[in-house]
């Protein structure tokens, strides 16, 4: 059996036997990315809704900045969070560099613009359709925008899944602020990078399969959402 085929076989065995190291890394990855997405959703959905409804001086500039942040490189986020949390940084006293908390902060910053920008677009489109009518019923601008998040909950679910996919598959930021410490801050992407560089392909491959499966699952759910949104299509007929 060739080395690559052997690696594949070992990787599959690690998965089927639920290898403790593999499970620990996968669980930590889910916990960190899930927490980051929850925090970014709490801030980003409200910020997006507010940006869709609010009218203020400099709004265009804010929207331009937000759209620019969509393409924020993860290593830049990692670097900025590192600078902020390092001992000599403004938040150095927190002492959370190289902990999962720092990784959550980095991923939150990474996906926040995605959630805010997409939520703004979704809410703005919905407000164009029914904003006047909600206002006529007594809703203020922000209340109308928040109601639109509820109205467009399928689209919101899709954008949150997309944000989770981005968070769980990124490597640069979590590598810099987490440090890839075994058993503490090692997540799927950083473990893959490390094991590959060490030449330990079975664990890297097993993690790669799991990551691929996670991303595929997220995409499948995103694809299923429009199916669920068949109701929405019928509603819009």
């Amino acid at each position: 059996m060739s080395a690559v085929a052997e690696s594949f076989a070992t990787a599959l065995r690690l998965i089927t036997e639920a290898d403790p190291a593999l499970v620990r890394i996968v669980a930590l990855s889910f916990a960190i990315s899930g927490a980051a997405c929850a925090a970014a959703a709490a801030l980003g959905l409200v910020a997006g809704a507010w940006l869709a409804a609010a009218r203020f001086r400099g709004r265009r500039l804010v929207l331009l900045a937000l759209d620019t942040l969509l393409a924020l490189p993860s290593v830049v986020v990692g670097l900025l969070v590192y600078l902020g949390l390092s001992r000599s940084g403004p938040l150095g006293a927190w002492g959370i560099l190289f902990t999962p908390a720092a990784m959550v902060i980095a991923q939150t910053i990474l996906v926040l613009p995605i959630i805010a920008a997409l939520a703004r677009q979704v809410v703005a489109d919905a407000l164009r359709e029914g904003g006047d009518q909600l206002r006529s019923m007594g809703a203020g601008r922000l209340v109308a925008a928040l109601l639109m998040l509820l109205h467009e909950r399928w689209a919101v679910a899709t954008l949150l899944l997309a944000a989770f996919g981005r968070a769980i598959s990124e490597v640069g930021a979590v590598m810099i602020v987490g440090g890839n410490i075994d058993g503490v801050t090692r997540v799927m992407t950083t473990a893959i990078a490390l094991e590959t560089s060490k030449g330990d392909l079975p664990l890297a491959l097993a993690l790669g399969f799991v990551l691929l499966a996670v991303v595929a699952l997220v995409n499948a759910v995103i694809a299923l959402v429009p199916h669920a949104r068949g109701v929405v299509a019928a509603e819009n007929r």
């Binding site: 029914g130 006047d132 019923m137 019928a234 509603e235 819009n236």
Partner: protein, 238 residues
């Protein structure tokens, strides 16, 4: 019965959308118990006048609203319904428009409104899966549930089939019989004749005639209003 003190008074209101003047120097008073139909050809400014009276459009004139004119509600030509159940749409409308009510009162009021428009059996159905007529009835229930002092209706039956049109008209006739003040825009002169006590005729953004219904249909008003009545401008008596 109409009283002397107007609920709403609009003076010299002009509404512009960019270069387009949708309403020009409009002055109008609405009194309690009146049922006013705003008629006119397409693009004559009926909807904008209604929205101006309702206070959701910026204008250059003055709009006086008496204390008795609150709350107000508006039913739009294409009602916007949230992707929620019929019942939840009603409860949200009540939360927005009658916030002083307790949760229990809102629940009761919602059920009462559903019964009023004959949608009780469809309370748990997604609002957007209702037929056009049912959606318009839900929009009426939503507005009626907040007990508006003035109810604005923008072409409430324009997109409906004859049977749904009849249902909605019967509901409106009921509201009017209860003394609700109604201001509606319509293309349908037959409907205006059946429901309104007063007709406001608009042409090119101006109020051309403002007469009691019987007088509007009996007299020769002159100008484009006569042409409109004859069906030479747009639409005819149904």
């Amino acid at each position: 019965m109409a009283t002397a003190e107007p609920l709403l008074a609009l003076r010299d209101a002009t509404v512009r959308f960019g270069d387009v003047v949708a309403v020009r120097d409009a002055s109008l008073e609405i009194r309690a118990g009146e049922s006013v139909a705003v008629v006119g050809a397409n693009g004559s400014g009926k909807t904008t006048l209604l929205r101006t009276l309702h206070g959701v459009v910026e204008h250059t004139g003055t709009r006086r609203v008496s204390a008795a004119a609150s709350p107000q509600a508006m039913v739009f030509q294409r009602p916007f319904l949230l992707r929620l159940s019929v019942r939840r749409n009603l409860r949200i409308a009540l939360r927005l428009g009658a916030a002083e009510l307790s949760t229990r009162e809102r629940r009761l009021r919602a059920e009462e409104a559903l019964a009023r428009v004959g949608l009780q059996a469809l309370g748990d159905r997604p609002a957007r899966l209702l037929s056009g007529g049912e959606q318009q009835r839900l929009a009426l229930a939503r507005s009626w549930s907040v007990r508006p002092a003035v109810l604005f209706l923008d072409e409430p039956t324009a997109n409906l089939d004859p049977s749904a049109k009849k249902e909605v008209e019967a509901l409106l006739a009921g509201f009017i019989a209860e003394g609700m003040t109604i201001v509606m825009s319509t293309h349908n002169l037959g409907q205006a004749k059946r429901l309104a006590t007063r007709i406001v005729y608009m042409d090119s953004g101006r109020i051309d005639a403002d007469l009691p219904t019987a007088q509007f249909f009996a007299d020769t008003i002159g100008g484009r209003a006569d042409l409109f009545l004859k069906g030479d401008l747009s639409w005819s008596l149904e």
